[in-house]
Subunit: 620 residues, 2 copies
């Protein structure tokens, strides 16, 4: 009841349809009892965890407190762990801590090396670790590359031989920006920035036909300078720089970006004045054509609500290419919106303008401008996105959203109401998820807490049920019915992700008349009794059909019950628990209740010889 | 589980403490099974209901569609119903509807008359109905007094011989304002207003030592003219006029208010940028000293959240007396903030200023500036406030909040977390509450739906329990323990509203050692069984103490269950359901479970004669 209530309260204002509770509850909950989780427990406890894919399937690198680990979930014997930057202690004041936390982790030169940075809170350092001999590395000071503070999240990108970082330049902060290191085009930075910013993610916009036009996008939140009483405290923005940028001339923008532009990332329902202002996490789904690449962004509000908005790279690019500048009067600016081969040749007046005007007037709006893809009251923290090729040659997109309690929601991207396929519970107790890594080639997901890394097999389908109908109704693009079980989807498996229409089973001749198991129970007269029925789907409706008519379930923590207060002759008969979901109805369990007649109480097998014996005595 | 979840999501952002679910759930739910509701079913269905107190206790006047009813709940035979304004049909075009809906209802001249207005959607009319002969009345056209539209809510005040109304002046709307009719000081109006406004309530600020200084406050919401992208669509305001106002001179403000000022009514949590912008309902608690009178205001937001903010008349007055004007440069305005005996004598420049500047710069802030009195995700619609004198000579304030589903929450005003004493369910099915009337002298509340008016006795206490401790823990200021039962609070009853500390019972020697009833149950071996325990408080914790240890309840719709999957010898013994709330713990029910030995199955009383009979036959 309260479920309905609450959503009614929170969401009816957003969208009448969404007010239906089940759009915000998972259809099924999967714990380690239901699907295989492979675990790796980390030595010690870690303030953060950096994750990158390893060189083999089902293997990853994990950076944490003092340690860099290579974890192989297939052959755990292969796993190893090395302490990082210990050697730094030698050339340091004895007072300084030589316990470094890893803050940046990249696989480079085609996986042959791992690039690792860390900090002891005083001085950041980095080094290149050859994958062959983990551990040995000549570390060097990394001021301006990696963060000073262990707490600071500083997303970075390593593309070819170029490293793009977003760490604070100064130990005091207020120096967040985007900086390029290495490569032939030299080191370039943004100018110091006085407003508080927190970078959420980086991505490349491309690759494009002309590489000169490739851009780097940085997604960040910034303290809102708007002093309006109703203005939100944070606003979300995208910053672009051209990958080809070589900086300005000696006098103007020397060694600073000449292509840096920012635009506001909008997510909300304008007509209702509901805005999601604060960006939490971003994941990018790259497409063959870069303009179709999609940015999935998770936002929150002061009310604690969450929303996911989806943007195309094309739409973001369009704003940077066409929008007027926010604080600049017409006529249209002379800044070039195209990236240039060599920015040092740009005329001074252009450079001067690039120095003064950077913010776009137009907002970047989501694909479905009318409203976010998804709105929820749940405290989601991370977002990852994967695609699965359906048998019908349709690509299905699945979102993975981490919850603050340590759970993960597997959400189907579809038009209309949100459909949460499942809630995965990788951890045994409530914990905080620090990071998520998706290995799309193997369809594995890695989630890390301060003490554990757990591997989720996104294709574990058995739990959906033992029948084609169960498997199809689950609507999980990773799964299909192979004739005998619900298993990883392939060309030969039956599935209907779009509608979950179980009829496809019959069409494919994959179904068989189902009869629910039936239990007979004899109860003492006037006995109190309880009937149980399993909850196979959180989206289904359950009811008991019995001689007295029809009764809804008494729902209690994952059980559908029916209480028999006092057994009586008129209550004898069949009790079946009927489940219905999406027009699909079937009986899950059946009971036949009988009343023990008092006579039945007499055990004749005992009685007969007893009487004979007794009589023989009497006859004597 | 989900309860915790949702509140965690919605409210943890507001206040960590409030995230505890029970602050938003009633301690107990009372239906007609639990307390006496007296009902009056209205003839036909009504779009609205106007309620005023009748001349006797437990009697009210109800205005609806075509009908004015006098309802006497004590002696229903006294109730009568008359159709209003039927006679109007004669002097109307035959095309016009002569079905009038009552829109304004007041008891005047000391209760001897009822002032009634209604509309047929074309022309509003009013008339004075002598209480002695209900029905007979000479109606007159009421343009500018009562609304044209049946939908329009137009609060009004009838003070002494003056009527203050807020109806639209024109059938097209956009004429909302405050208008005075009758009385010696003549008719005065506000000037036509182009922005959309909806009046929520009216109240008098006074009576003051000097009657000239009495003011009328009008509480309303207005379309926000602020075009800021983040600005809310509605803002809440208070409008003041001096009761003594006689309007301006021929040239300036002729027959218009010369004392009309407006100020913004603020409710929210500024430091979190959480604002409740839209006023829904208001009730005023008048105090001996007018400055201490309190305004209880119910607000909502685009997110569907609700908040109750409390203001003192003194605070509102202070803003109107001292604030600068919003759109006016310094130096300080020359407008007089005091009401004047005869506004017609005001100098022209003053009148001119009063014409141009009306809006205050300062916001009116609630008593506890830091945050609203109460924040909830529940869809409250109406608010009424009552006070009860406690035995300890402390006045306790109780709020009544209607829910959209037709329920009413009884809420205790206290510092710290919200405490919902009870949820009252006056209606048999989900319905929309149209209006609420509190009869504080008799402690009765009247709630009306389109088809019913129900009387709630706010002092029905029996359901709280059969023990002093139950009664005290309920913390209901209307109730107390008289030594034998929980009943209407008096000088002689035991209660502790502030802490609900049951120890007062012992101190007063009103308690007796309590032993929970104990049931013995013999179960067949391996039988399945279920134990039940009643839920006496939604705020308490329940657990089962048994031979195997301690188990939390399996909570299912108002029941606390314990399932015995399979009876076994080791499960024999005592099972007690222990309830704890506010440090108070006790056993509610006890069961003793035994296993029937098969032998007991043989009924010896049947057996003996059977054997004898058998043997006699054999002996033959």
């Amino acid at each position: 009841m309260l479920r309905i209530w609450t959503l009614y309260a929170v969401l009816s204002t957003l969208n009448a349809e969404n007010a239906l509770e089940y759009h915000h509850n998972p259809r099924i909950i999967l714990t380690e009892k239901d699907m295989p989780f492979r675990r790796h427990s980390r030595n010690g406890t870690h303030a953060r965890s950096e994750l990158v894919q390893g060189q083999h399937n089902d293997s990853i690198y994990v950076g944490g407190h003092r340690m860099l680990s290579y974890v192989d979930f297939q052959t755990p014997s292969q796993s190893k762990e090395v302490s990082m930057f210990e050697n730094k202690c030698r050339d340091q004041e004895p007072t300084d801590s030589c316990e470094y936390d890893i803050t940046i982790l990249h696989k480079i030169s085609g996986g042959k090396e791992v690039f690792v940075c860390g900090t002891n809170g005083i001085l950041p350092v980095c080094c290149h670790v050859p994958q062959s001999q983990l551990g040995s590395c000549g570390s060097f000071s990394a001021e301006g590359i990696a963060p000073f503070s262990v707490e600071e999240k500083a997303p970075s990108l390593y593309i070819e031989d170029e490293l793009y970082t977003t760490a604070n330049l100064y130990i005091r902060g207020d120096g967040v920006g985007i900086h390029r290191h290495y490569g032939t085009k030299g080191k370039i930075s943004s100018r110091a920035n006085k407003t508080e910013q927190r970078v959420v993610a980086m991505a490349i916009s491309g690759p494009r036909a002309d590489p000169v036009q490739d851009r780097i996008y940085t997604f960040f939140v910034e303290r809102n300078l708007d002093r309006h009483p109703e203005a939100a405290h944070w606003v979300s923005q995208v910053m672009q720089v051209c990958k080809a940028d070589r900086g300005g001339t000696k006098n103007i923008l020397d060694r600073h970006w000449t292509s840096l532009l920012t635009a506001r990332l909008y997510c909300g329902i304008p007509e209702k004045a509901l805005h999601f202002n604060r960006l939490l996490d971003v994941d990018v789904l790259h497409a063959a054509n870069w303009t179709d690449s999609k940015v999935y962004a998770l936002f929150t509000t002061g009310w604690g609500m969450r929303a996911v908005c989806i943007y195309t790279m094309g739409a973001i690019d369009h704003v940077f290419m066409t929008s007027r500048f926010k604080h600049k009067a017409e006529p249209a600016p002379i800044q070039p919106r195209m990236c240039v081969e060599n920015s040092k040749n740009l005329p001074p007046e252009v450079l001067r303008q690039m120095k003064d005007y950077q913010e776009m007037k137009d907002l970047i709006r989501p694909v479905n401008a009318s409203s976010p893809f998804m709105v929820s009251y749940r405290h989601y923290r991370h977002i990852r996105v994967d695609t699965v090729m359906g048998r019908d040659h349709v690509r299905h997109t699945v979102l993975f959203l981490s919850l603050e309690s340590g759970k993960v929601h597997k959400v189907l991207e579809q038009a209309g109401p949100t459909f949460i396929i499942a809630e995965l519970q990788p951890f045994r107790s409530r914990t905080h998820i620090q990071n998520m890594l998706l290995q799309t080639s193997t369809k594995k997901m890695y989630v890390s807490s301060s003490s554990e890394v757990v591997e989720l097999d996104l294709r574990s389908c058995v739990k959906y049920g033992q029948r084609c109908e169960d498997c199809v109704q689950a609507r999980d693009p990773y799964c299909g019915w192979d004739g005998t079980k619900c298993t990883a989807a392939s060309r030969d498996t039956v599935q209907d992700v779009k509608h979950g229409n179980y009829m496809v089973c019959e069409e494919e001749g994959r179904t068989d008349k189902y009869v629910a198991s039936r239990h007979v129970h004899s109860l003492p007269p006037t006995a109190k009794y309880v009937l149980q029925c399993p909850i196979v789907s959180g989206h289904a409706h359950y009811s008991w059909h019995h001689p007295g008519g029809q009764t809804d379930c008494l729902l209690a923590e994952g059980l559908c019950l029916m209480l028999i207060e006092k057994m009586a002759p008129e209550l004898e008969g069949n009790y079946s628990c009927v489940f219905s979901e999406g027009g699909y109805q079937r009986t899950l369990v059946q009971y036949e209740l009988q009343t023990e007649s008092r006579a039945r109480g007499l055990d004749s097998s005992l009685l007969a010889p007893g009487i004979l014996l007794l009589c023989l005595i009497l006859l004597d």
